[in-house]
């Protein structure tokens, strides 16, 4: 038999029909149904799979636990920094509110994180070892001191005890606040989930900026407008950076950017964008009026929350469809082969895959 030599893959095809039928069905649905008339960025790619089954296992993280944890961690982290800085510049009401926000959100995020474990009673096993290769390990060592410090600071603020300890606790929380808001991007990116991993440089910025928008928005809504200037500025800057970074995630990565546009994730992220943009605009226009500040803060918080849910769902979708695993890896292999041919022949290859 000589086919093997002449035809790549010896011309073998799956004998039974499902993948071909499925592909056709998907095309038809795409043509008709998608609202908004968004232009498909990537052509439907040809790929092989094992009966359409996913190659990687989708994360077992629960929703809403994990997206809520990300949202609360982001809001808590940025608020704690705000609280520590405003404490030094005599803005008592804003400081107090930022401390309540960061303390409350920190404690709640710990609850959500523990609830997400398969064996919640073993949550202390997180602190058995320190592993820089595990974002969740490092995250535990960020979250544990942060939630202790932020929680304690909020508690003494509430009770009115130990004013000096309050300032110290606030500074400790602020030290861990930034990493808490951004490490979650690494947590997601350091997986084999195609749409998360591809955006591994951008996700920490998306989550950090989204945390600023949420933290700034919430503290702005809660505080007297004459004190809330820093919150407004942080909220607007956070919203702008979030929109810019998210735009990169949604456009820069070819086929694995697609899950951010379609289905549930696409709807969530479109809503997130609208909320964030509207919240930022409202902050600029009406942030110095009570009602405007409250509405803008709520919009920004909602935008941040929706961003987390959207990114979470996009990753889940990219893990469930083998296309997002196979096609980029095939492209990578083809590029490598092309590179080798250039290296060995001294000229560009005429035939790629």
């Amino acid at each position: 038999m000589t086919e093997g030599i002449t035809t790549p893959g010896a011309g073998w095809r799956r004998a039974d029909g499902p993948p071909a039928q499925k592909r056709q069905k998907r095309r038809r649905r795409r043509g008709g149904g998608r609202p908004g008339g968004e232009v498909a960025m990537v052509e439907e790619a040809e790929f092989t799979s094992y009966y359409g089954r996913p190659i990687i296992k989708p994360p077992v993280w629960k929703t809403p636990d994990v997206p809520l944890y990300l949202f609360l961690g982001g809001a808590a982290g940025s608020s704690s920094i705000m609280a520590a800085l405003t404490d030094l510049t005599d803005r008592p009401a804003l400081t107090r509110n930022a401390r309540y926000v960061s303390g409350g959100a920190a404690i709640a995020s710990v609850v959500f994180l523990i609830h997400d474990l398969g064996r919640p009673e073993r949550f202390l096993h997180m602190l058995r070892v320190v592993k820089p290769t595990s974002p969740l390990s490092i995250g535990s060592y960020i979250l544990a001191p942060f939630s202790a410090a932020a929680g304690a600071t909020a508690a003494v603020e509430l009770l009115g005890w130990f004013p000096r300890l309050k300032r110290f606790g606030g500074v400790v929380a602020a030290l861990f606040g930034g990493p808490l808001a951004t490490y979650t991007g690494v947590l997601f990116a350091n997986t084999a989930v195609p749409s998360w991993h591809a955006a591994h440089k951008e996700l920490p910025f998306v989550f950090g900026a989204s945390g600023m928008a949420a933290g700034g928005g919430i503290t702005m809504a809660l505080s007297p407008i004459e004190e809330a200037g820093p919150s407004r500025k942080m909220a607007v800057a956070g919203a702008a950076i979030e929109l810019a970074a998210m735009h990169r995630v949604e456009t820069e990565f070819g086929i694995v950017s697609k899950p951010y546009h379609v289905g549930k994730a696409g709807r969530l992220l479109r809503a997130a964008k609208s909320c964030t943009a509207a919240g930022a605009a409202l902050t600029v226009v009406a942030g110095r009026r009570r009602a405007g500040a409250v509405a803008a803060g709520a919009l920004l918080a909602a935008g941040s929350l929706l961003t987390r849910f959207g990114v979470f769902e996009a990753g889940m979708a990219s893990a469930r469809d083998p296309k997002y695993t196979v096609v980029p890896q095939r492209e990578r292999l083809a590029a490598r082969e092309a590179g080798q041919q250039v290296a060995s022949n001294g000229h560009a290859p005429t035939i790629t895959r």
Binding site: M1, P59, K131, K201, G229
Partner: protein
């Protein structure tokens, strides 16, 4: 509090010792074992002689007391996949060996007896290995079969009315945890439940795992999985308990065709190279080794395969890369983003005048 991550020094700068990525000559030493550790062991799964009997699956379930599950890993449910003879479906918490089954149509280039479909021999005399068809008619048949690819896929196997040169082959491959040189699951485990054994394999300690689930999406092969109702994760241990007693893993012991070969990894690699050369010399051009290359994305696998088609046909990723390869870049990015928050907050506070 101890550190089990020997990869930690990689974060101090570049990665000169390939702690995160690249070939690693002594994976146990890198994990902290003394020089007198046993040799690294592995599986070589030669799918060209797999007969799909699933003895490996049964032996594995029996030895490791794995619960029954259906084709989607749902525990204690009996269910057929409805897609092929494969009713195991996938690797998971309850299936540590999975025999993939793929039926393909076209002409045969396997070193096994070709067999026509019922009715294949109605229009011509029925080609088989023994016939030795003349080259020209074969070439013509191939030509037309390529052109008729679409028509062939419409073909009804029950009637045998068309596709005179159409033949069928069955690909069977017993998939298993790859026990990677750079194992994503091991890298990301925050509790130290996953560890590198003295044999170079990767094993979960059930009494440590707290079910955080981080290893699940971090495996580029989708091997490790959380068991519903238990909460912890499970995967192939390469029968760690048997290895420590000088026995072979259950699957390799049960395999009747030596498709699953267990042994020291370097011996298996030499054997696999020889086997590949034999198959190539017999004209099986599509044969290739998968997971053998130490320069691949996971630094070479402890369990590697001889495949007869592209990896994705078997449900394997064509170019898996350990996710932690990019982790230094991610931490850098997170640090920069944290600094950005601090900078924005600082300028927001300093730039706002108290009214």
């Amino acid at each position: 509090m101890t550190s089990v991550s020997s990869a930690s020094p990689a974060f101090t700068g570049r990665d000169p010792d390939n702690r995160l990525y690249g070939p690693l000559p002594d994976v146990q030493a890198e994990a902290g074992y003394d020089g007198d550790h046993p040799a690294r062991v592995g599986f070589f799964t030669d799918t060209s002689v797999c007969i799909g009997c699933k003895a490996c699956e049964v032996a594995c379930k029996e030895w490791n007391f794995l619960p029954m599950d259906d084709a989607h890993g749902v525990r204690d449910v009996m269910g057929l996949s409805g897609m092929s003879y494969d009713n195991t479906g996938q690797l998971g918490a309850n299936s540590w060996r999975h025999v993939a089954f793929i039926e393909q149509t076209r002409t045969v280039d396997l070193p096994m007896p070709t067999f026509g479909r019922p009715g294949d021999d109605r229009n011509d005399t029925g080609r088989s290995v023994t016939d030795g068809p003349n080259d020209e008619s074969l070439a013509t048949a191939q030509q037309s079969s390529v052109l008729n690819a679409e028509a062939l896929s419409e073909f009804d196997p029950q009637t045998g009315q068309s596709g005179t040169d159409k033949q069928i082959r069955w690909l069977m491959s017993s998939d298993v945890c790859k026990h990677c040189t750079h194992a994503g699951c091991l890298d990301v485990c925050p509790t130290g439940a996953l560890f590198r054994t003295e044999f170079g394999t990767v094993v979960v300690q059930g009494d440590i795992c707290n079910g955080c689930g981080y290893c699940v999406p971090s495996c580029p092969y989708g091997v490790i999985e959380q068991r519903k109702g238990d909460g912890r994760v499970f995967k192939c241990t390469m029968c760690y308990d048997r290895l420590t007693d000088g026995l072979q893993p259950a699957c390799a012991t049960a395999c009747p065709t030596q498709s699953i070969q267990f042994g020291n990894l370097d011996e298996l690699q030499a054997r696999a190279d020889a086997r590949l050369a034999t198959l190539k010399s017999q004209g099986v051009e599509t044969a290739r080794l998968y997971g053998r290359d130490e320069d691949d994305g996971v630094g070479g696998a402890g369990a590697f395969f001889l495949l007869l088609d592209e990896p994705e046909v078997y449900g394997l990723p064509p170019d898996p890369v350990v996710t932690t390869r990019d982790l230094p870049a991610m931490w850098k990015s997170a640090g920069a983003a944290a600094a950005m928050i601090l900078g924005v907050a600082l300028s927001a506070v300093l730039g706002s005048r108290r009214k």
